[in-house]
Structure formats: structure tokens, C-alpha cells
Symmetry: D2
Subunit: 271 residues, 4 copies
């Protein structure tokens, strides 16, 4: 089967690019399941229910989050109503929502999506290595799910690469998010897990992390905020990866980066 993952949606440029391009991508590539990180979809800060519904309508099967999960206060409420929206697994007990979800793909496969957050230079959540390990023990590849995708939302490349190798052979895909910058290291790890340190973002790359660059540059220079961060307003570029998965093993047979839009060198997977 074939799975598409797209990185953090940043503001309107990201949303528009997804709504415009995703349906055709699903058709063209025969994609069975789509996961998108949506933690910056609402003006750069969190996600609203209306935006979530738009992204699901465009073809996403599951939306993941990160350190911006609850920037929109409503999310604490509506996340409980949605099976297709998850937040990092390693939030403390009692946090609204859930950190993983088991969903049906278009081809009938059971797909387990897990969202976890790194700790290096990040909020003090529970240990993501142990949290994901427990999840994969409870619902293992092939016995509990046909396909397992882990969105590891983390800052440090060390923590992301360690997670990839830690899970190698136990997940179909381990993909990083949060840096909003696609890495060029998509590959299949030795034991069969598709891996990419960061999927990049869906947004305007002529920016700082998808946000207009004036204020970030101002803060680096002066250390004093002048205004709020606002999403850049140029056309969005999509970034992520397309993974082919062996139905027998649940492991990856091919991973191809996908980048489509005006800012980055395109990466067009083979059909």
C-alpha cells in the first residue's frame, strides 16, 4: 500500500496548497492513507475545528500535532470529538485527546498513527522513547496493525535519528516534524522502517519557518519584540514523503520525498 505524509501546515498558504493539490495527488499516486501535521495551521498557532475539517475534506485521513497542539484553546474540547486528530502521546495523563489512533486505509489496511514529541530543547513531557515503545508493544506491527506511522515532533536531529534507529523494524514509517525544513535523508533503515529526519512544512518557504521574516530578524538583532509573528503570505509549497509498504511485512519498500510548489526544488515521486 501507499502512504503520504506531509509536514506542518503553516497558515493560509499551507492550507490553500493542501486543499488545491491533495485530491489530485491522491488520485495520481493511488495513495491509500494520508497523514498531515497540522500544528501551525491556524495563523501559525494550533488548529481550529473548521480548519481540521477542511484538511480532512481535502483528503487527509489523520492530522497530528506538536508543541503548538493547544495554542487554540478550543482544541482542548474538540480534540475529544475527533478520531482523526491526535496530539503527542507523551503529554501527561489526563491531557485531552489521545496520542495514537487506529484507522482504516482506503485499501482496508489498519493503520496505527502515533504522534510523539521530543524533549531536547522542547517542553518537559514524558519520555517519548518509552511512550512509543509501550505503544508498539501493545499494538505491534502485523499483530496489532498492518501499518504503523510515527510522527516524531522534535527539534534535535540527534533525538530524531535515535528514535528512527530505536524503532527500526517495528514501525513502517518514522518521520520527524517541527523544524519546518525538509531533510534530504529519506531512506529505508536497515531493518525496514522508512525514515526522514524532517518532513518539512506546507507553507511559504520564503520566510522564517513559514512566518514573515521581518519580526524574526528583528528579534535576533534587537532582542525586543516589535510585533507578533504572522504567517508569510506567498504561495505555499507542499513537503513530505511518499512511502510504499509491503502488505506482508508492514515494512517499507520505497520512500520518495515529495515537494511541490514555487519555492523549493521540486521532488516528484515516480507514479
Amino acid at each position: 500500500m501507499r502512504l503520504l505524509f506531509l509536514g506542518d501546515i503553516v497558515g493560509r498558504p499551507g492550507r490553500t496548497a493542501i486543499c488545491n493539490a491533495l485530491p489530485a495527488l491522491i488520485t495520481r499516486y493511488g495513495i491509500d492513507f494520508v497523514v498531515i501535521n497540522g500544528e501551525n495551521a491556524a495563523g501559525g498557532f494550533g488548529i481550529t475545528e473548521a480548519i481540521l475539517n477542511d484538511v480532512l475534506d481535502a483528503g487527509a485521513d489523520c492530522v497530528t500535532l506538536g508543541n503548538h497542539s493547544f495554542d487554540q484553546k478550543d482544541t482542548l474540547v474538540f480534540i475529544e470529538r475527533h478520531d482523526r486528530l491526535i496530539r503527542p502521546l507523551n503529554y501527561p495523563k489526563g491531557t485531552p485527546g489521545k496520542g495514537s489512533t487506529l484507522l482504516k486505509a482506503r485499501n482496508g489496511a489498519d493503520v496505527l498513527v502515533i504522534n510523539a514529541m521530543g524533549l531536547v530543547f522542547m517542553p518537559d513531557l514524558n519520555c517519548p522513547f518509552r511512550a512509543v515503545d509501550a505503544e508498539l508493544t501493545a499494538c505491534a506491527l502485523k499483530s496489532g496493525a498492518d501499518v504503523i506511522l510515527v510522527d516524531f515532533h522534535a527539534e534535535a536531529t540527534s533525538e530524531k535519528q535515535a528514535m528512527g534507529l530505536f524503532l527500526d523494524g517495528r514501525a513502517s514509517v518514522v518521520v520527524g516534524t517541527h523544524t519546518h525544513t525538509p531533510t534530504a535523508d529519506a531512506r529505508i533503515l536497515p531493518a525496514g522502517t522508512a525514515y526522514m529526519t524532517d518532513a518539512g512544512m506546507c507553507g511559504d518557504y520564503n520566510s522564517v519557518l513559514g512566518m514573515d521574516s521581518d519580526e524574526p530578524i528583528n528579534r535576533f538583532l534587537t532582542k525586543i519584540p516589535r510585533s507578533r509573528y504572522e504567517p508569510a503570505t506567498g504561495p505555499g509549497t507542499l513537503s513530505g514523503l511518499l512511502v510504499d509498504i509491503d502488505d506482508a511485512t508492514g515494512l517499507a519498500t520505497r520512500v520518495q520525498p515529495l515537494r511541490q510548489g514555487p519555492c523549493l526544488a521540486p521532488a516528484t515521486p515516480e507514479v
Copy 2:
């Protein structure tokens, strides 16, 4: 003219890959000037004078450093003897060595190489934005140098992208290092500067940042060191970017990622 930049050399796999491959790359692509970040060349921690000489002999014109600049104590001494080895510009006054160097390329062009270090999640050096700005004011593109390359050694993608846009049009190339993971965003910024958030490393990618993955995974799981970090020992992969520069403007006309080796999907520039 044509310039090659390669990311952090990590241990023997990185050194061997460079010594084996660099001479042929220079010939094949007609490269006029080569800059390599060498901060992890000596077993992952700093650089020795012998290794520096090997890298220069293999064809590097300039070696840059980063937060590991002085892991080898000798570097505090021998850096003063070498015009082709620089450390971040924004170390405090009185630090041995220098943060920029003006060198002749094979085609006769004067190339200014600047090394700076980010502050986000990094040591507390002077402001890199102001330090580089002062340098570019003192030695501007075309009036002071034909070509200017900035190696911005930083953790956060935000700080690197802000630096790229801050310098756009004033440097030929702004390339990031430190995360040891190549990004897939090599491009020419609106005002003509070639930019890539991180060049990646030259080392064994079947690892955590080029180091054997056992100890990093152990520390993430247990929070207690069990042994020292050691470079992984598999064959190295080179990663960096090839930039074509307009002799008239000193700005970039083409930027192509280069990845060559067993671990990553290859990126082979056009000749």
C-alpha cells in the same frame, strides 16, 4: 566560478570519504574553491593539525569549525599558523584564530570565507548577525571580495533561515552546518544568495549524527552515560552543495546539492 561546500567531517569515515572522493570531484566539476566544515574530524571532537593537512591536501581550500572548534587543545595553538582554518567569528575578543579569511581561488578570484555560530540552544557567543554584518560592511561583495561564503553553524532552523534572508544579496552563499543532516531546501534566495539550511555531514549516516547509535539511544532511555560517544565505522557519505557564481555580480546562478556515498539517496550535480 564554481564553489563546493561540504558539511561537518565526522571521524574516519568522513575523512576517508573526502580523501578518496574530493580530488575527482574537483576535476570532474571544475571546482574553483572548496570549503569544508571540519569540527568533528578528529574522532567526532575537533580537529588535529595532521587531519587538517590531510583535508587541505585532498583539495580543500578552507576549513571551518563550530562548537567543537577547540575540543582538541592543540587547536588553540596551531590555528594561529593556518590561514585556511577558521573558527566562528563571534567568539570573544582574544580567542585564538580568526573568524574569516580571504583566499585566492584556482581561477584567481578573491574568496572571503566567514564562519559564525548561532546562539539558539548553543554557547553564549557574541551576536552572529551583528558580527557577520560588520564583516560584510568591512569587506563587501565585489568591492572587498569577488565571492563571499558564510558557514553559519547553528542548531535552530529559524536562526539559520533568518541569517540567510538577512544576508540575501550581500553574500554569494549562506550555508548552515551543525545538525549533520542535509536539508532539501538548497535554492537561490530572492536577492541572489545561494542558501541551504544545513549542508549535512561527511560521515557514516547509519548512526546518530555520525556517532555509533548505541550510546545516544542508551542516554535517551536511561539518562545515564554508559560509555563515550564514538564515531560509527561504516563507510562515509559526502554531503554538501555546489554553487555556480556569476563573476560579474558575485551572486549565485545555480545551486545543486551533492550527496555521494552508500547511505543517502545520491544527489549528483550536472557537470
Copy 3:
């Protein structure tokens, strides 16, 4: 001569305690000069011009700031109009206001007040050690000023103690702020500088740093903000130190902690 320093004013409880108690303290102890850190005077976040004037009217000769210097945007403007309000010296060039001020004490002595901010776990300003060193070189004790007080606004006790010993003999007083918790280590260092790692705060100590404890405890437990931080509303306690200075040398002859209010064990200096 005799100098009083009081730590960070936090909200109304701190302001009220100062307005009520400071005039009597000045009289009772024959204080020649009063410095107060005011970075949290306005609801916990920065200072307004009206509050500054109230604090000066109550008897403060100089108000210092810290990482909350510009939480109230107006401060960027009115700080330029006030000789008695300073912000950390090691902000970048071009920052409104100044980092030191030379003022007349009631006994006619020239008092240099310097405000600097630490870098450990704090914003990335310029090196405070070098910034203060340059200031003390330009305006040395006895040649440039009769008395020199340094308010070092920093998180880490290591950085504060290093600053104290670094300046020992060159300043009359080095006192820390920012942790909002008085330390019990007020003493005269070997070369004559009065030192206290942290002066504590002027506010309601039945709290977390002067702020109502519900929201801080909520965030430690859940990692999700529920409301804004608000100052606690119980009666304020003053905390600081009283220093006697030898007019001939500018160095300290006695340092006594002062704590007055309902929450902490009182420290009542001898008259």
C-alpha cells in the same frame, strides 16, 4: 555612606509595601541612596512611567530592570526621558535607554549604578562580564565614582558568584536579582565588595515568584496554560540589603540583609 538595595518589585503588593515602608526606612537608617529593581512592578510584567514615578517619589534614587525591561511597550519611549531608570547594559547597541547611570547621593557622593543581565538560561545578550568590565574601566571606583553598585540580573548562582568574585574590589556592591528569592549569603568578599547572590523580591511571598500559585502549579502538572499569570494579592514583604561604604575607599564595611513584612522571617539591620 549607606546604601539600600531592594529586589524586584512584583505587582501591587510590592509597590504598596515600598510606598508604605521606604520613607520610614530611609529616615530610620539614614540611607543616602536607594536602588530598587522594578522589572515586575506592572502586574508582574515590566514597569509603567506612572509606577516609576511612584517608586521614585517613595524614595528610590534609581530603578533597575532585567529580562522584563520592555514588557510594557511604552518603556521603550519613556526610558529615554529618565536618568534614574536603567536597563541591562549588555543589550545590543541601539537599545533604548542606558545600562548605567551616575547619580548624586543625598550625602553628595557620586554613585554609579550598573545593571547587567546574565546569559545562562537567559536571553542572548552581549557578554555581561566584558560589558561590566569595560564600564568599570571607563569609570573606576574612586577615580570615576565614589560608589559603584552592580545589579546583576541572572538565573544561575554560578554566574552570579563568578561575577561577584570577578568584580571583587572594583565595585562597592554586587547584588543579584531575578530569582525573586533572597539568599542568605550577604557578605563582604575578600577584596571589599559587598555581595549577595539574590536580593529577593518585594512582593507577596505566599506565591510562586510573587505570582498567584494556581497557574504555575497547573502548568508544571499539565504543560498546558489555563490562564495568564497574575500577581498574588496578599500583603507584600520587602527584601534587600543595607550596605555601609567607606567614603575613603568606596568599599563595603558592613552588609546587612533587610526583610520586612508578613511572609519571611524578618531581618532587621542595626541602626
Copy 4:
């Protein structure tokens, strides 16, 4: 009953001061139980079994640790043999040793000692608030233990004050360690828990955190290590607090700071 807590032992000056003074203190004040943080007892880094035995022989009933728990590798082994040595509770499952211990005081009371570590600016352990809460639920004051002392080893005063108020009424004593600087805020919180943000250290205070100041000052100035950190070698000062506890409630009736030695203003509790 009466309990003494002393802060982090730093190197030989701290050990000597404890061995010389503790027996007389126990006699003079009729102390029933002594807890000492020993994380820096061995040259500033961890503790050896020989040193542990010396400290126990001098009169300590329990020794706690912190971020330096396992700096001496042997500690991973010998901690399993000692009921009186504990490390932070919130290390991951499987960590050698334990995070709490129930011991008999000289007066026959059952004393539960809990050691926990903060997360702000500290290693990424499990949530200390939830870990201590679970412990106090399992072994509550009066039902599970006559007296409960929590050593909360943390950097940020905010986290320590939040812990104090979070546990107020559920523990006899909550005392902070790690900053090596005594705070002047020892008091009984509203619901009866004795609290002090930091107990200070037992070591040479003419130093940076008990370590010779040359190298710390060098690193702040140059950002380049010149030598290892070594304990300062002047005579040690003891610092901590003496708490009287109501046998009926297990809550505190009086808390008095204790400081004894050449560097700090003495704090001599009433007998």
C-alpha cells in the same frame, strides 16, 4: 521530634566540616534524624562508597543525590546495597537505587525521605510533581510515615516554590538543593509544611558553587575550557535547616536555618 537537613556536600571542605561538626550538632540540638545531600561529595562530582560511609558514620541517617548522582560509576552498583542512600525518584524505571526510603529515627519515628529532581534547565526525567504525588499517596503523612522530608533538587526557584505549595500539608519538610546557595526564606507554609527554597551547600563559599573560581570565571569570559573544575580548598561552611515537627500531626512547628563556618553570616538555631 527534630530533624536536620544539610545541603550539597562539595568536596573535602564539605566532608571535613560535616565530620568535624555534625556529632556535636546532633548532641547539642537533640536531633533525631539527619538528611544530607551528597551529590558533590567526591571532588565535586558524585559520591563514593567510602565517602558515603564517612558521612553516615558522622551521624547522617540518609544521604540524597541529584543531577550528579552517578558521576562516580561505582554508585550504580553500591547504591543497591544501601538503604540510606537515595537518588531522585523521577529517574526512568530501571535506574539503579531508589528514590525514597523509610527509616527509623532515633526517637523511633518512621521517616520517609523522598528525593526528586526538577526539570526546568535540568535533565529530562519524569515529572517530579506527579512522581512525588504518587509517593505521598502510597505512603501518606501519619498513615504511612510519621515524618516526610522531600529534597527537591532543582535549578529554578519557580519550580521549587511550586513544589512547596503543591505539597503543603502533605509533607513535613520540602527543602530545595542544587544551587549551592542558601536562601533566606525558611518558613512554615500555610498548611504546615516547613519550606526553604535552597538549603545551600556544605563547602567553601569563597568560590563558585564550592569550586575554585578561576576556571568558572575563565569559561564565562572566554567560552573555552582551560582546566577541569576543582573544589575550592578553604575551610567549609555548613548550611541547612533545623525543623521541629509535631509528633501528632507530622507537620512543622518551627524551622530555623543553620549556617556554621567561616564564610557566611552564622545562623545559630535556638536549642
